[in-house]
């Protein structure tokens, strides 16, 4: 949310201000010829201010051994500058008190301010600047923030978040929320109240990056360093804030890391004492060592949870790899079992086949076995779908064929029985296309049934009439219609060859990425027919394995010689 707060439209007269007596004392102190009785006269017009001045002057903050009993006395003992600074601190703090901004935790704000003031005083000693001047400027450097919340009390909820940010992030957020920053408002009010010019410059410039202007000089730099050191005690990440504070402090006023740490260590005790002297109510100060220890504990906790997460992730990855390996082993075993369901190709039987699966497991299969009378039972099947579920039905169907086929040598009856079996347990509409038959190598006769499979190709180059014959299916695949009768087709190979194949062959892609099709297969067969049978099988599979489109389906091919 952005509030459009225009600096020039903010009227200082509408804002809380230090009492007139305080402003008069501050202005009077700036005049070299001013007398202590003159200051005293002004102070008398505001007894509350006078009483507060005397109380703080006698507090341990100033470490004066004998009692200061009057304002004249205070001028003599403290000096004009110190008195002026004291008036500044007291009057501005009182002007913007906690009642001025409902819901705003002013006590926490002044505690932070006091911490900045004390750091500024410590830094002043290190870089040989006026300690009292720096203390006052440190105390008041952020009072513009109070004015921002005074103008926009509905934004007080943002204070907690703003407070924990680094000084530079806080300034950016202020700009985003209010369209104006505490440095701009602070400068404007110090000018309006005619407070010391050096204070106005320091308040307005303590967030600047480079102090090229000599007038801005060391006071702004000290305030900036004080701001960063204060953030170590209030941020959520003290370790990071300490590094940032050291880096910033080294950069702007040239003190080293150890000096920053020394200031931090001494700070809580100083803050407690100064709060008592100035009458500020603050929480118990946490020792620097404790702040860093807490941060380390938090960091360790975060590291532990990070490590635990890493450990859990590693464990999950290990489990995943183990599961994948186990699954691969299972697949490998399934592949071996499936391969064992295919017949061993030997030159003893004039039937030869090849099966190439598209996935790990195949839904296609073929089988052949010799009967005692020399005839050969053969089949080629294709289960709908691919992969594991197809492989399981493939195993069942091929087992049924091998087992029943040894006793029942009628292809039509055999398929009728197998079909009934599959229909009984069929799920998900799965079906099996199959060509099954019996071949008598003695006389070349083949009796076969085609249940929904692509048409086997009978190729006989020496035939006088039809050199090519396609044996199209006349019945649907197995597993769909329970009481199906199958018609047998009888042929004679003579000196030709019978090619039986699954649709993965005819739907396969040629090296030109075109679907082979039945006619493509026929012309391929015609070209290869002089080759030895194993070479023909290999060449056809090779032809369908070069497409950039990959392998679409399981490919199975059986040749009867």
């Amino acid at each position: 949310m952005t509030l459009v707060t225009q600096l020039e439209l903010i009227k200082p007269t509408d804002l809380p201000a230090p009492p007139q007596a305080a402003l008069q004392i501050i202005r009077a102190c700036a005049r070299e010829e001013v007398t202590s009785s003159e200051i005293s006269d002004i102070a008398e017009t505001n007894p509350a201010l006078t009483a507060e001045l005397l109380r703080v002057a006698n507090s341990p903050l100033y470490g004066i051994s004998r009692e200061v009993t009057s304002i004249s006395n205070a001028v003599a003992v403290l000096g004009l500058r110190a008195l002026r600074n004291l008036v500044l601190c007291i009057s501005i703090h009182d002007a913007i008190n906690k009642e001025a901004i409902p819901g705003f935790d002013a006590e926490v704000f002044w505690e932070d301010s006091l911490r900045r003031a004390i750091v500024a005083r410590q830094l002043a000693a290190l870089v040989k600047q006026d300690a009292d001047e720096c203390f006052t400027a440190g105390l008041l450097q952020d009072f513009g923030l109070l004015i921002l919340f005074y103008l926009h009390p509905e934004q007080t909820g943002e204070w907690k978040k703003l407070r924990c940010l680094s000084p530079s992030e806080r300034l950016q957020q202020e700009q985003a929320i209010f369209s104006v920053t505490h440095t701009e408002i602070g400068k404007k009010l110090t000018d309006f109240w005619e407070l010391p010019e050096s204070l106005g410059i320091a308040i307005g410039g303590h967030h600047a990056h480079i102090y090229s202007d000599s007038k801005q000089g060391p006071l702004s730099a000290i305030l900036q360093a004080a701001d960063w050191i204060n953030s170590v005690f209030i941020t959520n990440n003290p370790s990071q804030a300490l590094s940032a504070a050291v880096s910033r402090t080294t950069q702007v006023i040239g003190i080293d890391e150890q000096q920053v740490k020394d200031i931090c260590e001494a700070l809580p005790a100083f803050v407690t004492d100064a709060a008592i002297s100035l009458g500020l109510k603050i929480d118990r100060q946490v020792e620097f060592e404790q702040v860093m220890r807490d941060a380390n504990v938090r960091l360790a906790e975060e590291n532990t949870s990070y490590q635990e997460l890493t450990w859990r992730l590693e464990k999950t990855l290990r489990e995943r790899d183990a599961l994948a390996a186990a699954l691969n082993n299972e697949l490998e075993l399934a592949r071996e079992i499936q391969a064992s369901l295919l017949p061993l190709d030997n030159n003893d039987t004039p039937v030869h086949g090849v099966n190439v699966s598209a996935k790990e497991l195949s839904g296609d299969f073929y089988d052949f076995f010799k009967l005692d009378d020399g005839r050969v039972m053969f089949n080629l099947g294709d289960v709908s779908g691919k992969g594991m579920h197809a492989a399981l039905l493939m195993a069942k169907t091929s087992s049924l064929f091998r087992c029943l086929g040894k006793k029942n040598h009628s292809p039509a009856e055999l398929l009728k029985t197998i079909n009934r079996e599959i229909c009984e347990t069929s799920i998900r509409g799965m079906f099996v296309t199959m060509v099954a038959g019996i071949y008598n190598p003695e006389d070349g006769t083949v009796v076969l049934v085609n249940a929904g499979n692509p048409p086997p190709v009978l190729f006989n180059p020496k035939a006088t009439e039809k050199k090519i014959r396609l044996l199209a299916a006349d019945t649907p695949p197995l597993g769909i219609v329970p009481d199906m009768d199958y018609d047998e087709i009888s042929i004679n190979l003579q000196q030709g060859h019978l090619y039986i194949y699954s649709d993965g062959i005819t739907e396969g892609y040629t090296p030109n990425d075109e679907e082979l099709g039945v006619m493509g297969l026929v012309s391929l067969i015609a070209n290869l027919d002089n080759m030895p049978v194993q070479k023909r099988l290999d060449t056809i599979i090779q032809h369908l394995s070069q497409s950039s489109k990959g392998q679409r389906d399981d490919m199975t091919l059986l040749i009867l010689e």
Binding site: S384, G385, G387, G429, G452, P476
Partner: protein, 108 residues
């Protein structure tokens, strides 16, 4: 694959389009079974099917089997050339009731 269902009188007409293969036939299957499980007769329009594999055909077969079991009508309509080639090759034209158009299917 596209799978859109429209209502034509008592019928649910499921329009399948594109390539129906192993990777998407499950969606077609779910839709067919969902319509049948609501006791609606189903017509599957295959006019825009460019390719259908055996897993796609199996989804249609399962629909047919479930419809028979529940005594509901199940037919294919306006079958594209590509799909018809697969159906005829496997002689599934003997299994499915096939109509030239969805309109014809609703009348029978």
């Amino acid at each position: 694959m596209e799978c859109i269902t429209k209502t034509e009188g008592d019928f649910s007409v499921i329009y399948l389009a594109g390539e129906i293969d192993l990777y998407c036939s499950a969606d077609a299957r779910m839709e067919i079974l969902a319509q049948l499980s609501e006791s609606r007769p189903v017509i599957v329009d295959l006019s825009r099917v460019e390719y259908i594999d055996s897993s796609g055909i199996a989804s249609l077969v399962e629909g047919l089997q479930m419809a028979k079991k529940n005594k509901l009508a199940f037919s294919l309509a306006a079958v594209s050339e590509a799909a018809m080639q697969v159906i005829k090759l496997a002689r599934l034209d003997k299994v499915f009731t096939i109509h030239p158009t969805v309109n014809d299917a609703t009348k029978n």
